[in-house]
Amino acid sequence: MPAEEIFYLPLSELAKRIETKKLSPVELTQIYLDRSAKIGSRLNAYARLTPEIALDQAKAAEKEIQHGHYRGPLHGIPYAAKDLLAVKGVPTTWGAKPYSDQVFQYDATVIEHLNRVGAILIGKAAMIELAGGMGYRFASASLQHAAKNPWDTKCWTCGSSSGSGAIVAAGLAAFAIGTETWGSIICPSAFCGVSGLRPTYGRVSRYGAMALAPSMDKIGPLARSAEDCARVFAAIAGHDPKDRSTVPIDKGAFTYSPSLDLKARPLRVGWLANAWKKMDPGVTKAILASEKVVRRYFASVKSAALPEGPFEDAGNIIIAAECAASFQALIRSGRVSELTDPLGQIAGYVNEQYSAADYLRALSVREILQKKMEALFDSFEVLVAAAQPIPASPLETNLETDLAFPDPLGAIGNLCGLPALSVPCGFSENNLPVGLQFVGRAGDDFGVIQAARTFQLHTDWHRKHPKLT
């Protein structure tokens, strides 16, 4: 098999070869490390590679497997983790200069889970500084500068999981861990043409992860397919006493069986008519073609509409207030001025000004919205819409002025902690990926995985890869 194809093999195939000893975890790790060193640096995809950790873990995995101790589908599989997840003894910079020397002496729970199943950490993925919590005007708002899109290096990957998107799209690791407060998994997945799962809030522990807006932060995988996302999600989901926001132990765990999920239940799909006010013509074309696929292969597809209200406003105020609290020391010390982005240097001061009354009012609106969405999900298992209304934007775009569009689905999904999965569904007129997102009821991560898998069973967009040399 040509080396290029190995880089893009899905987890299931890599796992099968590793389990049957046809593929060495050490060799796989080394070729991913070599490719990451060569291509990753051109894309600004990594905060740093971790070759020593990776090769130690790979050798241990190989030894275990040779002795008949195969841990499961992630054993011996290389991955990257967004640089806001603590890895013991390794700098965790949060993408921001004020934290460039920060080192934790413990692993984030997500890293612990992935260690437990034998996955191999090959590097920390680049990210937007402080995950964009202070606002940012340019794609270059990162210690690693702008992450370049593997489909067109003059374009951005989207943020804040900017490196995670680039790494998976460029075949630099089998999967990557990203985080989302509002859009940071779904948007990079769409821009980079990969599959990305934003789990239900509380399904994945944030212990050891940078807090931006604690009531909205979520951790999830970006990978080659919905099935791959499900396999990673099954490894990292679960109650964690160290993160009190995680759902109870009887509801936190997620088990996954690819053979069962497509048969689990007929899905009633709500095709959202008001997710975006305006879409790029190339995106529209891809989405219309996707709608035909969905209408053909799903049990029921009807038009649906999101509730209307000041939900984006509530989301913005909650994020701003919580972010100001999370980074109060940074703001008050003045070290916020060390951030790269001109907006990030000052927006925190504005965020500090929101009153407790307004924050609580936003939380009340959230409560009302949760009930409205529960009612909507009485008619549908999943809602479907374009993941983004545009394809990847040029690197130099002023995001504040030129990438400004209402995003009610992103606001509602993140305010209510709803699971969502973005999958590739075509290309724009400039040959940039377009994403389709499936959004489900809180707790029904299985539903969005089932829906996305069904879509990918009948399409091959997720098997397309950028040509990189």
């Binding site: 940071s184 509380g202 927006a347 000004q353 609106v365 809180a442 299985f446």
Partner: protein, 138 residues
């Protein structure tokens, strides 16, 4: 974890409304920060400034002045101008939020508790059933 600029919505609205506001004129000069070492940037007529009620204008100005009162010496004139714009940009979101009807008994989601009770129903659905005709491969 924020994939978009937090001020994107209001920016668009500002451009649409294209109002001219001389907000500082309604604030007594005494409220201007004594800590500010730089002179106040000139207030220019700007399409970035949203159309606001007098009360909302006053609130936006107070927000800006509160920042200058504490941190004024930290900012360049360009940053002050940007801060002032952001203070006004924040206001329409607050106004819309406050205009939304909330009853006294509508409690805040003090921490986000996803409504996962429904999972009991969906969890049962992992038992395999015969696939529907619509789900079969072509």
């Amino acid at each position: 974890m924020n994939g978009k600029s937090s001020s994107s919505i209001s920016r668009r609205e500002f451009a649409r409304r294209a109002a001219i506001v001389s907000a500082l004129s309604i604030v007594p000069p005494s409220t201007i920060s004594a800590n500010s070492s730089n002179p106040e940037p000139a207030l220019e007529q700007s399409s970035d400034i949203p159309s606001l009620s007098p009360e909302s204008q006053a609130e936006a100005v107070a927000r800006y002045q509160a920042i200058l009162a504490v941190y004024g010496s930290r900012f360049s004139d360009t940053q002050k101008s940007d801060l002032r714009r952001l203070c006004f940009a924040a206001q329409p979101s607050l106004d819309r939020l406050r205009a939304y009807t909330i009853e006294n008994g509508d409690g805040p989601a003090l921490y986000l508790k996803p409504l996962v009770e429904r999972e009991k129903k969906t969890g049962a659905a992992v038992i395999p059933r015969a696939p529907s005709p619509a789900m079969k491969k072509p």
